[in-house]
Amino acid sequence: MTVSTGKDDPALPGVPVAKRLSVSRIGQLTWMAVLAFLLAAPFVGVYPIFLMNALCFAIFACAFNLLLGYTGLLSFGHAAFMGSGAYATGWLVRSAGWSPEMGVLAGTLAAGAIGLVVGLIAIRRQGIYFAMITLAMAQMIYFICLQAPFTGGEDGLQGVPRGVLFGVLPLADDLAMYFVVLAVFVAVFLGIVRIVHSPYGQVLKAIRENEPRAISLGYDVDRYKLLAFVLSTSLSGLAGSLKTLVLGFATLSDVHWSLSGEVVLMSLLGGMGTFAGPAVGAATIIGLQNYLADRVGSWVTVIIGATFVFCVLLFRRGIVGELLAWLRRNRAA
């Protein structure tokens, strides 16, 4: 579409074909707008703790979507990895006096290591069994967190200090912490885009579309799936580690199965298999929970559940998926 034909676009009379924006260009422009908003947000009165929390969950949901959206593996126990990261960082920073950067790194690695073990077991079965196995393994990790001596049991780890990043940047300042979280989010997001577009990511998609065919083409499918699982769980751990620094605590709700369900909902609502979808879904759900928490009490669970039912029945492409489909329809006409 580099050469103007001088003809009008049938969908948009009066606009030459060459002037139309491509779908990917619209995507780029949207991202720049979102990034500009995120950079300006704390200065225009958006509560930074809320933004940071939403960004942590966006990282979590994007990591989760690497598995569900691009590999076709539904893990129903991803909270366990976010929670492991949260607990590992919380304990190391608070009780062992580690610096925040080392704490976050260790939390990420810990979640990845646990992910490796769980992944080795879970990839032995496919489809629906994979979901049930990850859920069961995550429940085991939940009980370990409940009983282990270093997790603080029902109370969790409270009062985790944010510390000083690289020995120069004090994170106790909300604004400094916010930009660190934002930088990590952008890095993770771009990293996932890079992974998906790499040859490795193409193999993952092939596995999602037709696993037996990928096997018959000679790919060691289990190894690819395991690597995707470890990547996804490490990044989930990273999200948990950051969240612990932001909020100053790690609790049992970080490893509970309901959070595993929520991250599925974030992906589904935003749009599985789209880059932006999980982040949009995370922001929507966190915003919704924040808004509803004081207003409707225990109805939050009902609303979350009903959203689930609605998405599965009528809104399977999700917000971003529907938008993309609408754009493509318009462009194709």
């Binding site: 032995r124 496919q126 629906i128 196995i133 559940g305 009903a306 689930f308 599965v312 029945l313 399977r316």
Partner: protein
């Protein structure tokens, strides 16, 4: 002999019996899951919530309507079965052509809705349900004291499980059901109303869960969350047993309940996780599960 491995024999047998009771619930729930999965290809996450509703129906019918335990045994499965018909007809039906994962997600959403509704209505604190008059007290077996109600739970649920097994494996109706699992289009071509069969199967599975809920009501705290905590263990049971075999899921359920009971005696800290550990070991050694078929 008053001790076994250094544990008083009374405590040992008591925990074994508790394990057997829990195992009966695992068996009933995993049986329902297996039957639903067989015909609908859906893993029913709402199974725990349906079990919880069954227990609440029992409690409510006693508190509000004054209907006793035996009525509850009849009423709860009927009510929850009707709810099952509604769920299948209005929602699950739309998902059969899609990836089975959507069925899991839909029923997960439903479980959250039910749980939230009951929590809003009844709070999180537990309700007590009295043991029915006829089954109070205990029988002295000489080597241990056997509470009558626990014995009843084990006998009743085993009978229900074996009855279901007989119905599916040995009767004409069951043969049709199994044929429907293998090839629904062919069965439909023989003039059998497969959609109706599917609806009734889901309702039957739901009714089984509710029945387990009523049986459990007098021995547990009835809370809105009782179902989801249990269903995750039942998932592990199902993975261990493999969903292909009805008898397999009954045996696995009972056996794992007893293993859990024994763990409470010897190493109580691990009793919460022992089923999951066994699941991991079974998956490493025999990925299709103990009674599963190669897929």
């Amino acid at each position: 002999m008053n001790e076994i491995f250094g544990i008083p024999i009374q405590a040992f047998l008591g925990q074994l019996l508790l394990g057997l009771v829990n195992g009966s619930f695992y068996a009933m729930l995993s049986l329902g899951l297996a039957v639903i999965f067989g015909l609908l290809g859906i893993v029913n996450f709402a199974h725990g919530a349906l079990y919880m509703i069954g227990a609440y129906v029992a409690w409510l019918s006693l508190e509000k309507l004054g209907l006793n335990y035996w009525w509850a045994l009849l009423l709860a499965p009927l009510a929850v079965g009707a709810l099952g018909v509604f769920i299948e007809r209005t929602m699950l039906r739309r998902l059969y052509k899609l990836d089975p994962l959507y069925g899991l997600l839909l029923t997960f959403g439903l479980a959250l809705v039910f749980e939230g509704l009951f929590r809003d209505q009844f709070g999180v604190s537990g309700q007590q349900y009295p043991v029915p008059e006829l089954l109070r007290g205990a029988t002295n077996l000489g080597f241990m004291i056997l509470p009558n109600y626990r014995a009843w739970v084990v006998v009743a649920s085993l009978s229900v499980c074996l009855g279901t097994w007989f119905l599916i494996e040995k009767t004409r109706l069951g043969a049709t059901l199994r044929a429907g699992t293998e090839n629904p289009r062919l069965v439909q071509a023989f003039g059998i109303n497969v959609p109706l069969m599917v609806t009734l199967t889901y309702a039957g599975g739901a009714a089984l869960a509710a029945l387990a809920g009523v049986l459990a009501a007098p021995v547990i705290q009835i809370t809105p969350l009782m179902g989801s905590n249990l269903i995750i263990v039942v998932f592990a049971v199902v993975v261990i047993g493999g969903m292909g075999s009805i008898l397999g899921s009954i045996i696995t359920g009972i056996a794992l309940g007893m293993v859990e009971g024994l763990t409470k005696v010897f190493y109580p800290e691990a009793s919460n996780i022992v089923v999951f550990v066994i699941m991991a070991i079974v998956l490493v050694i025999r990925p299709t599960g103990l009674f599963g078929k190669e897929m």
